[in-house]
Symmetry: C2
Subunit: 266 residues, 2 copies
C-alpha cells in the first residue's frame, strides 16, 4: 500500500496523518482478543496505573503471532517505508490500554526525547504507526497532537531526572507550561479520531498527549514504532531491556499473512 | 428574550440546549475580571483541588455586582422563566475554574441527587444556566451530557455516605459503572462546546460530567441554578450555609442593567 501525495504532504507538514478504517472489524476483533490474552502474562513489560489498572503492555509482537503478522503487514510497512526509508525494524511496540472510566492521561511530550535520552539514539529516523483498537472519539481520551510541532527539534525535552532502565513515562519528559502555551497558540491542537481499525502515522518529534478517559468506552491504542536500521541505539551504559527496545534489527519484509490466525506461531 | 419552539423542544427532549455567544466579548471580559477579584476572597465558599489549585467558588453573586446583574439579565431569566416557571430565585451560584494543564474532572452525576439528599428538596423544579467564561472545546474538559438522560429519575443517585454541611462533590453521588454503560449505550454522549459567552441551559436531572483539562486553555464555567419559589428546601437538620443554598427566595425580576459596570454596588 502507498500513501497518496496528499497524505504524504499532510504527514510532512503536520507531523501526522490518519488512515481511516485501514483494518476491518474482524481483524480488530482478532487483535483485541490477542491483547486480552497477552495482557494476562505477568512481567515487567506490563505498566500499571497508580490505581492498579493496566496502563500499557510492551512487546506483544514478541509473544503473539497476530502482532508479529501485523507489524509486517503491507498496510503498515508500505506507508512507513514510503515516509521513512526502505529498511526499517521494530524499535518499540506497545499497547496503551486507557480503560473505560479510569484511564489516566499522558502528559504533553515528544517521543524522541525519551529515546535520545534513554537509548542514546542519534537521529529521529523513526515513525509511529498507531492502530485504534477502539473507536477513538472526543470522549475517551484520544491522542491530541500539536500539528506542525515536529518541525521544532525535541529541545524542550530534558528529562526531569535520570531515566531508569524501564518504561519512560511522559511525565518524566513533559514539556513545560510556557512552552506548551506558545506552541498551542501558534499551532492549535487536533485530536486523532476515527473508527476502530484506523491508523494514525505520527512523527517521533511531534508534541502530543492525551487526557483521562471518563467515558464508558475504553481507548486501547497499539503503537508500533519503526526505526531506520542505520539508526541503532548506542547507549552509554547497559541497554534497556528487549521488551522496551527491540534487538532484532533485521529489516522487516512486507508479508501479507492474515493477522486473524491466532494459531500460527512464527 | 424567548427561546424558539425548536430550542424549547431540544431542551425538553434532550435535557440541554446551547445558546451560542449569548454574551459578548466585553461582557465576558467583565465577568472574568470580576471572577479574578472574587476568587481572591478567602472563605469556605472556595473549593480547592487536591493539588491546591482552585476548583470552584460559590456565591459570587452575593459579593460582586457583575454577577448580581447577570442573574437578572433577561437573556438568562427569559429562557429560564419560559422553561421552568415565572417565579424563580437563585438556589445556587458557582464558578468551576478548571484551570489549564491541571483542572480536575467531575464525575458522572445528576445535580438533583445532591440537592434532594443534602437539602431535602422535594421536586426537580430547577434549571441550570451555565455560561462559558472561556471557549469550551473538545480539548479543555467540556461538560459532557448524556442526552435524554434527564427523563430517568435521579434514582441511581444515592450518596456514598452522609453528606456534610458543605460542597457536595460529584464523586459523592457518582453514578455506577454498569448504569453509565447502559445509559451511554442507549443515549450516547455529547459535549457542550462553543465560544466564550455561550450559555448552556440544562436540566437538574440530566446525567453529566467532565474530564480533566490538560490543555493550555482554562475552562471557567459559571453555573447559575434557578429554583421555582414554590419548591424551597426543607432540610431535616440544619440548613446548609447560604453560600451553597440561597436564602433570598424572592422572585427575581428581569433587569437589563449592564453587567460590565463593576463600580455599581447593588
Amino acid at each position: 500500500m502507498r500513501l497518496t501525495p496528499g497524505q504524504v504532504d499532510a504527514y510532512q507538514e503536520r507531523g501526522f496523518v490518519v488512515l481511516r478504517a485501514l483494518f476491518d472489524a474482524e481483524e480488530v476483533e482478532s487483535l483485541r482478543a490477542a491483547f486480552a490474552r497477552d495482557a494476562r502474562e505477568p512481567g515487567p513489560h506490563r505498566v500499571l496505573e497508580d490505581g492498579g489498572e493496566l496502563r500499557a503492555v510492551y512487546a506483544s509482537h514478541q509473544r503473539r503471532p497476530e502482532f508479529a503478522a501485523l507489524i509486517r503487514s503491507p498496510r503498515l510497512l508500505g506507508p512507513v517505508r514510503q515516509l521513512l526509508c526502505p529498511d526499517v525494524y521494530m524499535y518499540q511496540f506497545k499497547i496503551n490500554s486507557k480503560p473505560a472510566f479510569s484511564g489516566g492521561g499522558w502528559s504533553w511530550h515528544q517521543d524522541f526525547a525519551a529515546w535520545r535520552a534513554a537509548d542514546n539514539l542519534a537521529e529521529p529516523r523513526l515513525l509511529n504507526a498507531a492502530l485504534f483498537l477502539d473507536d477513538s472519539t472526543e470522549h475517551n481520551g484520544p491522542v491530541i497532537f500539536v500539528p506542525g510541532s515536529h518541525r521544532r527539534a525535541a529541545q524542550g525535552a530534558t528529562p526531569r531526572g535520570a531515566l531508569g532502565a524501564s518504561h519512560v513515562d511522559p511525565d518524566e519528559i513533559a514539556l513545560g507550561r510556557d512552552e506548551m502555551r506558545e506552541l498551542v497558540a501558534r499551532h492549535g491542537m487536533e485530536s486523532a479520531k476515527g473508527p476502530a481499525g484506523s491508523v494514525v502515522l505520527f512523527h517521533p518529534e511531534i508534541v502530543h498527549g492525551s487526557a483521562t478517559n471518563m467515558s464508558p468506552q475504553p481507548r486501547r491504542l497499539l503503537i508500533a514504532t519503526y526505526n531506520d536500521v542505520r539508526n541503532q541505539p548506542s547507549p552509554a551504559g547497559a541497554a534497556r531491556p528487549e521488551y522496551l527496545v527491540g534487538r532484532d534489527t533485521r529489516t522487516l519484509r512486507p508479508d501479507d499473512e492474515p493477522i486473524t490466525d491466532g494459531d500460527l506461531i512464527r
